[in-house]
C-alpha cells in the first residue's frame, strides 16, 4: 500500500470514528427535547454525552486537518464547492457547542428552552447535512478540468442526496436512542428503547432505499459489481439484527450493530470512491484522485510518522474516558455542571 492509499484509508477511518461517535451524540441532541419532559430529565439526557461530545467532534477537525495536509486539492475543491452547506453546518456546530455549556447557566425556563432547541437544531442540521454531503461525494458533482467546482448550491440538493440526508439523520437518531437506552435507568431507559423500536423500521427502510437508489444514481455498484462484497452486506445485516436486538433488550449489542452499520456504510462509500476523492459529473478524467489531489511524498511520510505515533495515544485516552464514565446516569446522579 502506498502512502496515498494509506492516507485515503486513514481519512476514511477518521470519518468512521467521527460518524460512529458524534453520530450518537447528534442523536441524543435530537431526541433530548422530546424525551426530556422536565428540566432534570433534560439535564440527565445531556449529561449522557456531556463528557464526550467535544472529544467526538475533534474527530471531524482531525479529518478536516488530515484532508488539508494529505490531499490539499480535495480539501480545497470540496470545501469551496460545498460552500453554503458547510456554512450551515458550521453555524449549527457553533450553536450546538455553546448550548452544552450555556443552557444550565441560567435558571430562567425561557433561557433553557431556547438553548435546548438550539442544541436540537445544532444536532439535527449536521446529522442531515452529512448524509447530503456523502451522497453528493459519491454521486459526483460538476468539477472542471482545473479541479474547480462549477455548480451552485442547488446542484447539491438533488433527490438522491436528500434521501442520503434523511438516511443519516434517521441512522444517527436511532444510534443515539440506543445509546440513551444504554446510559440511563428507569423511565428514560424504557422510553428511549421505545423510540429506538419505532425508529428502527423507517431507518432500515431508508438505508435500503438509499442503497438501491445508489445503483441508479452512482457508478459505485457498476464498479463494485452486482455482488458488492462483504462490507455493504455487513451494513445491511447489522441494521436488520439491531431491530431484533432492540426488541429483546440487548441494547449493548444493538448499539454495536448500529455502529457497524455506520462504519460499513461509510466504508462502502469510500470504497466506491477509491481511488477517487471527488467524482466529477462532467468528465471522469476530471475527477480528483488520491494521486492528483495529494501532497508530496515527503509530506505524506512526515504525516504518516506523526499519525502512527499519536493516533494510538488518542485512542487510548479517549477509551479511558468512556471507561471512567461508563456508569448509567440517573436523576439521582451527581449532575455536576
Amino acid at each position: 500500500m502506498d502512502l496515498n492509499t494509506l492516507w485515503f484509508v486513514l481519512i476514511a477511518v477518521l470519518f468512521i470514528g467521527f460518524f460512529f461517535l458524534e453520530g450518537f451524540d447528534y442523536g441524543v441532541g435530537i431526541l433530548m427535547p422530546f424525551l426530556g419532559k422536565d428540566d432534570r430529565t433534560r439535564r440527565v439526557i445531556i449529561n449522557t454525552i456531556g463528557t464526550f461530545w467535544d472529544g467526538n467532534e475533534v474527530w471531524l477537525l482531525t479529518a478536516g486537518g488530515a484532508m488539508f495536509a494529505a490531499f490539499p486539492h480535495w480539501y480545497a475543491t470540496m470545501f469551496s464547492g460545498f460552500y453554503l452547506p458547510l456554512v450551515l453546518m458550521l453555524l449549527a456546530l457553533i450553536i450546538r457547542g455553546v448550548s452544552f455549556e450555556y443552557r444550565s447557566k441560567d435558571e430562567s425556563p425561557r433561557w433553557r428552552t431556547f438553548w435546548d432547541w438550539m442544541l436540537f437544531t445544532g444536532s439535527f442540521v449536521p446529522a442531515l447535512l452529512w448524509g447530503v454531503a456523502m451522497a453528493n461525494l459519491i454521486r459526483g458533482v460538476p468539477i472542471d478540468g482545473n479541479m474547480q467546482y462549477t455548480g451552485g448550491f442547488f446542484n447539491l440538493l438533488n433527490l438522491y442526496s436528500l434521501v442520503g440526508g434523511l438516511t443519516s439523520l434517521a441512522l444517527f437518531t436511532l444510534h443515539g436512542a440506543i445509546f440513551l437506552n444504554l446510559k440511563t435507568v428507569g423511565d428514560l431507559r424504557e422510553k428511549s428503547r421505545a423510540v429506538a423500536q419505532k425508529l428502527w423500521l423507517p431507518t432500515t427502510a431508508l438505508i435500503f432505499i438509499f442503497t438501491i437508489y445508489g445503483y441508479f444514481e452512482t457508478d459505485m455498484f457498476t464498479r463494485l459489481g452486482v455482488d458488492p462484497g462483504v462490507v455493504p452486506i455487513l451494513a445491511g445485516v447489522a441494521i436488520l439484527l439491531s431491530g431484533w436486538l432492540i426488541r429483546n433488550n440487548y441494547s449493548g449489542w444493538a448499539f454495536i450493530m448500529t455502529g457497524i452499520t455506520i462504519a460499513a456504510s461509510v466504508t462502502t462509500i469510500f470504497m466506491g470512491l477509491f481511488p477517487r476523492v471527488m467524482v466529477s459529473s462532467l468528465n471522469d478524467a476530471w475527477s480528483l484522485t488520491i494521486y492528483t489531489a495529494s501532497s508530496s511524498d515527503y509530506t505524506l511520510k512526515v504525516m504518516s510518522i506523526i499519525a502512527l505515533i499519536f493516533v494510538p495515544i488518542v485512542l487510548i485516552y479517549q477509551s479511558w474516558t468512556y471507561w471512567i464514565f461508563r456508569q448509567r446516569i440517573s436523576h439521582e446522579s451527581e449532575l455536576e455542571y
Partner: protein, 451 residues
C-alpha cells in the same frame, strides 16, 4: 464589494473574534491548574473555591473559543481554496497536527475535568486540568507554526506549481515561531491575570463575602500578571528586532518611516499623508528607533519608499506598502497598553509587598476597567501583524488576491459574512451576560454546585 474583499472581511472578523476568547483560555487554564494544584498540596478549602470559581468562568469562555475555532480550520478551504492548493502541502501539516495533538487532548480532558470531581482522585483531577492547559497552549504553538510560515516561509521548495514541504523541522525551528509563540503565550497570562484582577477588584470594592478568595486571587493575579506582562514586553522587543530583519516593511509601516534613516528616529506621534507618503506633523525622538532595533544609537532602519523600490526589483511591479495608518496606530495601541498594564501591576505589587490588601477605591475601579486592556492589546496586535504583512498572504510567495476561492461567488460570501457576524454578535452578548453573572455571583454560586 467583490468576493475577495468580502472573504477578507469574513476572515478578519471571524479571526479577531476567535482570538478575542483564546488568550483567556490559554492563560486561565494554567491559572486554574495552579490553583487546583495548591488545593491538592495544601488542602486549603479556599483554593478549591478559587478553582471552582475561576474554573466556571474558564468554561464559559472556553466553549466559545472552541466553536469559533472550527470555522477557522474550515475557512481556508472554503474561502481560500487557491491558498490551500498552493501551500497545503506544507501548511496543512501543522493544522492536522494541531487537531491530533492538541484538540483531542484539551477537549477530552476538559470533559473529564468537568464531570470527574467525584470520579477521580484529587491529584488525578488536578492533573487533568494541567493536561487541558498543555493542550490549549500546544494548540497555540501549532497554529503559530502555521502562521509563522505565512510571515517567514521556510522549509519549502516551489515544485509542481506549488509550495512543497522540503524540511519539516525547518517549520518547527523557524525563528519566527520562537518569538511569536512566547509573545502569545505570555499575552495569555497577562489577559488571564487582568481578568482575575478585575473581577477580584470588583468583589473587594463591593466588600463581598468570602473576601479571602478575592484577596488571594488578587495576589495571585498580580504575580501572574507581572510575569506575563513583563515577558510580553521583553519578548515583544526581540520580536520587533526580528521583524526588522525579516519583514522590514512591517516595521517601517509600524513607525511610519518613509525613507531610510541612519540613525533612525522613532515617532512618538505622527499624522501622515498616506497617499503622498510623507509626514504632515510628527514628533520624533532622534536615534531611538536605531537603538530599539540594534541596541545602539546608530544603524540604518529602512523606510517604506526604499523598501517599495527594492521589492519592485525583487517581485515585479506592484504596491508593497501595507495600510500605514492602521499599522502605525495598532502598533502604538498594543505597545502603549503593555506599559500601562505594567504600571498598574507594579502599583499592585507595591501594595501587596507592603502587606496591605486595603486598596484605594480608585485603584480597584481602575483594575475593574483594566479587564478590557489586554483584549484591546491582543486584538490590535494581531490586526497589526496581519495587516502590515499585506499585500502578502505568504510573505514574498503568494499575494492575498491570488489566494481566494474560485468556486465561491460574492453572493455566497456575503451571505456567510452576514450570518457569521450576526451569530457571533449574539453569542458575544450571551457570553458577556454569563461571564458577568457568574463573576458577580462570586464563590457563592459555585459552592454549593448549581445544577
Amino acid at each position: 464589494m467583490d468576493a475577495l474583499m468580502l472573504a477578507r472581511w469574513q476572515f478578519a472578523i471571524t479571526t479577531v473574534y476567535h482570538f478575542f476568547f483564546v488568550p483567556l483560555t490559554l492563560g486561565l487554564s494554567i491559572a486554574v491548574a495552579i490553583m487546583e494544584t495548591i488545593y491538592v498540596r495544601t488542602g486549603k478549602e479556599e483554593y478549591k473555591r478559587m478553582t471552582k470559581f475561576w474554573g466556571k468562568l474558564f468554561l464559559i469562555n472556553f466553549a466559545i473559543g472552541v466553536v469559533t475555532g472550527i470555522v477557522q480550520e474550515f475557512q481556508f478551504g472554503m474561502n481560500w481554496s487557491e491558498y490551500s492548493r498552493f501551500v497545503g502541502d506544507i501548511f496543512g501539516a501543522p493544522l492536522a497536527i494541531e487537531a491530533l495533538l492538541a484538540f483531542f487532548l484539551e477537549s477530552t480532558f476538559l470533559g473529564i475535568w468537568i464531570f470527574g470531581w467525584e470520579k477521580l482522585s484529587r491529584k488525578m483531577h488536578a492533573i487533568t486540568m494541567w493536561i487541558v492547559a498543555i493542550g490549549s497552549n500546544l494548540s497555540a504553538l501549532w497554529i503559530l507554526i502555521a502562521n509563522s510560515f505565512m510571515q517567514q516561509p521556510v522549509g519549502y521548495v516551489i515544485r509542481n506549481g506549488r509550495a512543497e514541504m522540503s524540511d519539516f523541522f525547518a517549520l518547527l525551528t523557524n525563528g519566527h515561531v520562537w518569538v511569536q509563540f512566547p509573545h502569545v503565550f505570555f499575552a495569555g497570562m497577562c489577559t488571564a491575570a487582568f481578568f482575575i484582577l478585575g473581577i477580584s477588584a470588583w468583589h473587594l470594592f463591593k466588600k463581598s463575602e468570602d473576601a479571602l478568595v478575592y484577596q488571594k486571587s488578587f495576589k495571585f493575579g498580580v504575580v501572574y500578571g507581572l510575569i506575563g506582562t513583563l515577558m510580553v514586553i521583553l519578548v515583544g522587543h526581540s520580536q520587533a528586532q526580528y521583524m526588522i530583519k525579516i519583514q522590514p516593511m512591517k516595521m517601517a509601516a509600524a513607525e511610519a518611516l518613509w525613507q531610510n534613516e541612519n540613525p533612525a528616529a522613532m515617532s512618538l506621534f505622527t499624522i501622515g499623508n498616506e497617499k503622498e507618503r510623507k509626514d504632515v506633523f510628527a514628533i520624533r525622538v532622534p536615534a531611538l528607533l536605531s537603538f530599539l532595533a540594534y541596541n545602539r544609537f546608530e544603524g540604518e532602519v529602512k523606510g517604506i519608499n526604499d523598501i517599495q523600490q527594492e521589492y519592485e526589483q525583487l517581485y515585479g511591479p506592484g504596491n508593497y506598502v501595507p495600510p500605514v495608518a492602521i499599522s502605525y496606530w495598532t502598533f502604538r495601541i498594543m505597545t502603549g497598553l503593555g506599559f500601562v498594564m505594567l504600571f498598574m501591576l507594579l502599583f499592585g505589587l507595591f501594595k501587596v509587598l507592603k502587606g496591605s490588601m486595603d486598596f484605594a477605591p480608585l485603584y480597584l475601579k481602575l483594575m475593574i476597567g483594566g479587564i478590557a486592556l489586554p483584549y484591546l492589546a491582543n486584538s490590535t496586535g494581531w490586526i497589526f501583524t496581519e495587516i502590515a504583512r499585506q499585500p502578502w498572504a505568504v510573505f514574498g510567495v503568494m499575494r492575498v488576491e491570488e489566494a481566494v476561492s474560485v468556486a465561491v461567488s460574492s453572493g455566497e460570501v456575503f451571505f456567510s459574512l452576514i450570518a457569521f457576524t450576526l451569530l457571533y454578535g449574539s453569542l458575544m452578548a450571551a457570553t458577556v451576560y454569563l461571564l458577568k453573572k457568574y463573576a458577580v455571583a462570586g464563590t457563592s454560586e459555585v459552592i454549593p454546585e448549581a445544577h
